[in-house]
């Protein structure tokens, strides 16, 4: 980083500066890349060489439904998360720090709390005789308990709860980087608050929204724990199907093929997300 004539001597212990990454590279290469590649090979060799696993995957209504449902859940979760996160991030970006730090504290507490603990809380809250149904009935809003668990509603509530911090925290950064002067100028030129929001604030925060939204979408696509506990059998998601195919059905070929599909989709979306983050960083300096 700092150009100095001492660079060579100070890294003499670790030639060319690449050597010290060797342990990490070995570890990741041997116990991450090799197993993943071996798994992917298995999808075209188990039980016999050929593409029959992929044919089975895309030819069966059951599995196609799992794919569609996975995309549906991830899309709904992402949309709801963006809508809920944006106003919060907006306030956090401009709130007095004393007030903001309380909200930040709550976000971190929720984020650091054990994932199973949070999911367990929602299992209890959303069940037929749970607090939410009882409260709604006591208020006279409903007369029969709502089915809130083991369906799309349950997964969405639980997943939005988990994804919110991942959307709010980066968005705060994007919003803080926007120069308030641009909005002052808009107001001076006679723009109404709605107009200023639609034509200035929203477009300027779009790179952050897109990057965060894509991250939430990608994480949701491959999520296992929360959908498995809060979702129903009729709307199973891909990760749970992969685990079940391998663990209960011992069908490694089919499970590997499904894992490969998940990997390709995830990596492609991640590549797009990296671009967006780069773009939003460049745009953040306006």
């Amino acid at each position: 980083m700092q150009g100095s004539s001492f660079r060579r001597s100070s890294i003499a212990g670790l030639p060319a500066g690449s050597g010290s990454a060797l342990p990490a590279l070995l570890l990741v290469g041997l116990f991450f890349i090799v197993p993943v590649v071996a798994l992917l090979l298995r999808s075209v060799t188990d039980p016999e060489p050929g593409l029959q696993n992929y044919a089975a995957l895309f030819g069966s209504g059951t599995y196609v439904r799992v794919f569609l449902n996975t995309f549906l859940v991830a899309s709904v979760v992402t949309a709801v998360t963006i809508v809920v996160a944006f106003p919060v991030a907006w306030m956090l970006a401009i709130m007095p720090p004393a007030l903001g730090s309380i909200v930040f504290g709550i976000i971190i507490l929720s984020m650091w709390t054990n994932l199973l603990t949070r999911t367990y809380a929602w299992m209890v809250l959303l069940q037929r005789t749970g607090v939410i149904n009882r409260a709604l009935m006591a208020l006279g809003i409903i007369h029969e308990p709502l089915p809130l668990i083991n369906n799309l509603a349950g997964v969405t509530i639980g997943m939005v709860y988990i994804m919110l911090p991942f959307m709010i925290l980066p968005l705060v950064g994007t919003l803080r980087a926007i120069d308030p002067m641009t909005l002052r100028a808009a107001a001076l030129c006679g723009a109404s608050p709605f107009e200023a929001f639609r034509r200035i604030l929203l477009p300027l925060s779009l790179p952050g929204i897109a990057a965060g939204g894509l991250m939430v979408f990608v994480m949701s696509l491959g999520y296992f724990v929360t959908p498995a506990l809060l979702g129903g059998t009729s709307n199973m998601m891909l990760a749970e199907m992969i685990a079940q195919t391998v663990q209960s059905l011992l069908n490694w070929g089919l499970g590997s093929a499904a894992a490969f599909v998940l990997l390709v989709v995830t990596m492609a979306l991640y590549a797009i997300q990296l671009r967006l983050v780069g773009a939003s960083r460049a745009g953040g300096g306006i």
Binding site: S10, A21, P23, A24, F31, N114, V124, V131, F197
Partner: protein
């Protein structure tokens, strides 16, 4: 003026109200579980008909819960130590190395954070079945170290990028050996990054469920695997007690982090 807190007018009331509602949404389930763990209803009725400590007594009297917690702590500690050491070395190379493919290397080392865990879980499970590491502590530690590594590398490289290397060079000019300069000048300066790395890698392993479900054996269970098993069976209040202790641990970690950060950044 949409980015001026003092001049938002009526909009501020609406937005602050909404933010408070979301904060409540994030906080209430955590509080709810803690309250429930002291409730006397076996059926998790809320508000509880009475208060009791019996779920905690049951929890602490059950050796399988204690075993699971100790196993988790042991594995997480080993994975965190390995991830921080390996990650520290890798970070020096990622930040200061001058070689082609540095960005590719960073991408490769951070991939375990991006790839869906379930893919890695079945891949490493199949691999460990073949080489005889499935269901062993060593296997657990290796798998969790890989998942923790990105959480160690990210904070360390972030701090290292902000560290002025000419300070290290100055120490060398003044007669320190490169190793001495690194140990006595650079390491203390980036300790916030190393400390964050340790916390995050520990949590990455301690909270990890998916790989653990595959790796666990009847004799080797981590705490998340134990909770997962109980959740699939029934919603026993004992799980609420275990969960509340985990919430307490999170609060302790947050406090320690905040205190140490304040102390270290002074």
């Amino acid at each position: 003026m949409l980015l001026d807190y003092d001049r938002l007018g009526w909009l501020r009331v609406a937005l602050v109200g909404f933010t408070a509602a979301v904060a409540a949404f994030l906080l209430l389930p955590v509080i709810f579980i803690v309250l429930l763990s002291f409730g006397s209803s076996h059926w998790l009725a809320f508000p509880p008909p009475g208060w009791t400590l019996k779920w905690y007594q049951q929890l602490l009297a059950d050796p399988s819960w204690i075993d699971a917690a100790l196993t988790s702590a042991r594995i997480a500690a080993m994975a965190a130590i390995l991830a921080v050491i390996i990650g520290l070395f890798a970070s020096f190379s990622l930040v200061r190395g001058e070689f082609r493919g540095r960005q590719v290397l960073r991408g490769v080392l951070l991939t375990p954070m991006v790839l869906p865990v379930v893919v890695f879980a079945i891949a490493i499970y199949a691999f460990f079945l073949r080489i005889g590491l499935a269901g062993t502590t060593v296997g657990f530690v290796i798998a969790h170290t890989i998942l923790a590594l990105p959480f160690a590398i990210t904070p360390i490289t972030a701090v290292l990028e902000g560290f002025d290397k000419s300070i290290e060079d100055a120490a060398i000019v003044c007669g320190a050996s490169p190793l001495q300069a690194r140990l006595r000048i650079t390491l203390p300066s980036i300790r916030i990054g190393i400390f964050s790395a340790a916390i995050f890698s520990f949590l990455a392993s301690w909270d990890e469920v998916v790989v653990a479900i595959f790796m666990a054996s009847p004799t080797l269970q981590t705490l998340p695997v134990k909770i997962w098993g109980s959740l699939r069976a029934d919603l026993s209040p004992v799980v609420a007690a275990a969960s509340s202790l985990l919430v307490g641990l999170t609060l302790c970690l947050m406090t320690v982090t905040a205190l140490l950060r304040r102390k270290l950044s002074r």
